[in-house]
């Protein structure tokens, strides 16, 4: 607990305890922890003297915040107009089916978190999938599933079987 508070203290100092910078502070917490742990948000609320309900409102309003730990890898699927026209919904469906994960969720083995976003602004590459900051262009349902399968560590063949 003490260690966590230290992190919150540091981040608050970074922004000179300016409550207007609440969103950057929360972004920094998420960058450190991978998500927004409830304890951190509680200390943030008490240190800034901001109601926890307001922090919770902000955390749930913006889609980039998450309240649960994420998977090992970050998978972002673009759902912008062009990607949509070029078949993004089918890719999303294929991923959901293969890995039993809905957009916004994390696979049960915590391999990756799937996010469907509005537009990553790389329309020339449509349909686009981003895995840990690497852009994959012109993906198909098959190639997307293939890329995500390759994220699995090779020495665990049994998980592969259970998922297929």
């Amino acid at each position: 607990m003490a260690k966590e508070n230290e992190l919150v203290e540091q981040i608050i100092d970074r922004y000179a305890a300016d409550t207007g910078m609440l969103i950057p502070m929360m972004q920094d917490i998420q960058a450190e922890c991978g998500y927004l742990p409830a304890d951190q948000l509680r200390s943030l609320a008490s240190r800034l003297d901001v109601p926890l309900s307001r922090i919770y409102a902000v955390a749930t309003f913006y889609t980039s915040f998450r309240l649960a730990p994420k998977g090992l890898h970050d998978v972002t699927l673009c759902m912008g107009t062009v990607c949509y026209l070029k078949g993004a919904p089918k890719i999303c469906e294929a991923i959901s089916k293969e890995f039993r994960v809905e957009p916004g969720g994390t696979t049960r083995d915590r391999l990756f978190s799937l996010q469907a976003v509005n537009c990553v602004g790389a329309c020339a590459l449509a349909p686009v999938m981003i895995v840990d900051e690497k852009y994959y262009d012109g993906v198909t349902p098959e190639s997307a599933v293939e890329v995500l399968r390759s994220l699995r560590p090779a020495e665990e063949p049994e998980t592969k079987e259970s998922a297929s």
Binding site: T19, G20, M21, L22, I23, P24, Q27, R54, A57, V58, F61, Y62, T63, S64, F65, M79, G80, T81, V82, Y84, L85, V117, N118, C119, V120, G121, A122, C123, A124, L125, A126, V128, E133, Y135, Y136, D137
Partner: protein, 621 residues
């Protein structure tokens, strides 16, 4: 990065420094410029850059060669793009093995590698330079002019080519009033979508009582299918900063904010670097260039909410609150961010300002139509041959943009519509393709200029589904503050779902229209008021598609599952049996080498046969 630390103390210092940089540039130096915009970078251009650098290091010949990363060239379709100087030779779709050849042949030998040049698909003619390619020569690049030439992470590149000279001019010879008059004279209108006259906005903000005043750059480019602002922020961040500096001087502000979308990490990185370099050189901070003017900029990353592109919602987000818009009867120029006078402009608007100051408002007003001046950057995407970023003078026709620059519709398909203005815009059909790119003309057609997405749709696109897509997008992104938007969009989506599922009822179109009218007249913010545009414009131009869905239970574009059938073309079918093996429900029958048939009773319309047939003998009817 910058060899000699320089801190400018007067406006004359910039010109001196710029001249010394130009003098130092050896004209015999050969230059390889590698595009590292997101499009090219995704196709491995950073690796190409490294390979060129290695080649430069290993070459023991007595030539000066410099490899350089540059911002987006716009021709993303053909990436990665590499340009070699002298000669401005443009190579496209460059791959790792090509690097050695380019270096040996072109850089050292001065010969052109023909196979890497752009080849005109119609004439087969190869183009050596960018301006020989139709994609570029119809364009007029002002805002994007520096993209593809500057290294966005080096302030010296920007200064060498005259960057920050507009700021020096303003601080040394213009009063704030003069700056505003110049911008008014240019008739620049906001590039974020609204099209409000920029000069008038600045004037009201300057006149507003209250201190401090703020200037904000809206980089929350939320429209799906639009990436103009991203490329400017990534490719030429200093142009935005210089624009904001000039605006701040005119308005009387000391603090600026750039609000960048969360999905644009490279833009944030480049802006951060640009700001710290500008601070080091005395272009941001206290007493800029030795004057009494002080100004600094902070960057905020968005949280991933579409509504934050709306100015009042953006300000709420900057204040650390949920991004809910407020009613506009209190103008933000009087009471905006933290209740103080605030001037918010879009990235592209800011990037236009240094050009207006340098070349004069009259020059700018000489480009374009009567009510829309200058150029506009569009992201030309969708089912078009040349996808990319284009900058065109106002007044050019949509047809020119799509056919001449874009190269027409991809795969020889027929054109159906072009969608402009993002979720607040509409779909424009082929009969209006000769309409001019102009704020008012596009609005008249039921669409809008918007921030600059231009999405081309072909004959295989179902317009009801397009309307449904945008409605679903907006329904998810509605902040929920006002009832018409929150509930109205849900109801519209419900009706559109029904229609695309083949359960549309007579009167549904009228119900959609009445909900749309309600939204337009009662929603709180501009996003809500225009939310029905995609539905209204598709009803206006493609009513027959709605009717076919509702009355005939048929989707003319054959996209809505269940509203068309699969059949096998007996003439094209070779009886190979692939479809039969792939059908999950055993609906296909037929002897080997004899045309097969689909049992419509059993068929679940999964489309497996259509995807697998090697002879395209399975038809959608």
């Amino acid at each position: 990065m910058i060899e000699t630390p320089v801190r400018f103390k007067s406006t004359a210092d910039i010109e001196t420094f710029s001249r010394s940089l130009r003098d130092r540039t050896d004209s015999t130096t050969k230059l390889v410029r590698v595009c590292i915009g997101t499009g090219c970078a995704a196709k491995g251009s950073r690796r190409l850059y490294e390979l060129f650098c290695e080649a430069v290091k290993q070459s023991d010949l007595d030539v000066r060669v410099e490899a350089k990363c540059v911002g987006c060239h716009g021709f993303c379709e053909r990436g990665p793009i590499v340009v070699v100087e002298p000669g401005e030779i443009l190579y496209q779709r460059v791959e790792e093995p090509d690097v050695a050849e380019i270096f040996r042949e072109t850089v050292l030998g001065g010969r052109v590698v023909q196979r890497l040049l752009y080849e005109d698909p119609d004439t087969g003619k190869r183009a050596e330079k960018a301006d020989e390619i139709p994609f570029y020569n119809v364009q007029k690049r002002i805002v994007l002019g520096g993209n593809g030439r500057y290294n966005p992470t080096k302030i010296t590149d920007y200064i060498t080519e005259g960057g920050y000279s507009a700021l020096a001019k303003v601080l040394s010879s213009m009063l704030p009033e003069d700056v505003i008059s110049e911008v008014e004279l240019s008739e620049l209108r906001g590039r974020g979508g609204g099209g409000f006259p920029t000069g008038r906005k600045w004037r009201s903000c300057r006149a507003a009582k209250g201190f401090p005043k703020y200037v904000i750059c809206n980089g929350d480019e939320g429209d799906p299918g639009a990436f103009m602002d991203r490329s400017i922020m990534e490719g030429n961040p200093h142009s935005v900063i210089e624009g904001m500096l000039i605006g701040a001087y005119a308005i009387g502000s000391e603090q600026g904010y750039i609000y960048v979308r969360n999905e644009y990490p490279l833009a944030v990185e480049h802006l951060r670097m640009a700001i710290s370099q500008a601070q080091e050189m005395g272009l941001l901070g206290r007493n800029i260039l030795g004057s009494s003017f002080s100004f600094d900029i902070k960057i905020n990353r968005g949280g991933g909410a579409f509504v934050c592109g709306e100015s009042t919602a953006l300000m709420a987000s900057l204040e650390g609150r949920t991004g809910e818009p407020r009613a506009k009867y209190i103008h933000t120029v009087e009471s905006g961010f933290r209740g103080k006078p605030t001037n918010l402009n879009n990235v592209e608007t800011w990037a236009n300002v240094p050009h207006i100051i340098n070349k004069g408002g009259e020059w700018f007003a000489g480009i374009g139509t009567e009510k829309s001046k200058g150029t506009k950057v569009f992201s030309l995407v969708g089912k078009v041959v040349n996808t990319g970023l284009v900058e065109v003078p106002m007044g050019i026709t949509l047809r020119q943009v799509i056919d001449e620059i874009g190269g027409g519709v991809r795969d020889g398909k027929g054109f159906k519509a072009v969608q402009t203005g993002g979720p607040s815009g509409g779909c424009i059909p082929s009969e209006h393709l000769d309409a001019r790119v102009d704020f008012d003309e596009l609005t008249k057609l039921g669409s809008m200029m918007g921030s600059g997405g231009m999405i081309v749709m072909d004959e295989d696109t179902c317009m009801v589904r397009v309307a449904r897509y945008f409605t679903e997008f907006l329904q998810k992104e509605s902040c929920g503050k006002c009832t018409p938007c929150r509930e109205g969009l849900s109801q519209m989506l419900y009706i559109l779902d029904r229609i695309t599922d083949g359960e549309g009822q007579v009167g549904d179109v009228e119900r959609l229209e009445s909900l749309a009218k309600l939204l337009e007249s009662t929603a709180l913010c501009a996003l809500g008021k225009t939310a029905a545009n995609p539905v209204i414009s598709t009803i206006r131009y493609f009513r027959d598609e709605y009717d076919a869905h509702i009355l005939e239970r048929h989707c003319p574009a054959k996209e809505c599952r269940g509203l068309f059938r699969y059949e096998i073309d007996a003439d094209a079918c070779k009886g190979c049996g692939i479809c039969l093996k792939n059908c999950p429900v055993g609906a296909i029958s037929g002897e080997n080498k004899v045309p097969h048939t689909i049992d419509q009773e059993k068929c679940t319309l999964c489309g497996a046969c259509w995807e697998k047939c090697p002879f395209t003998a399975v038809l959608k009817v």
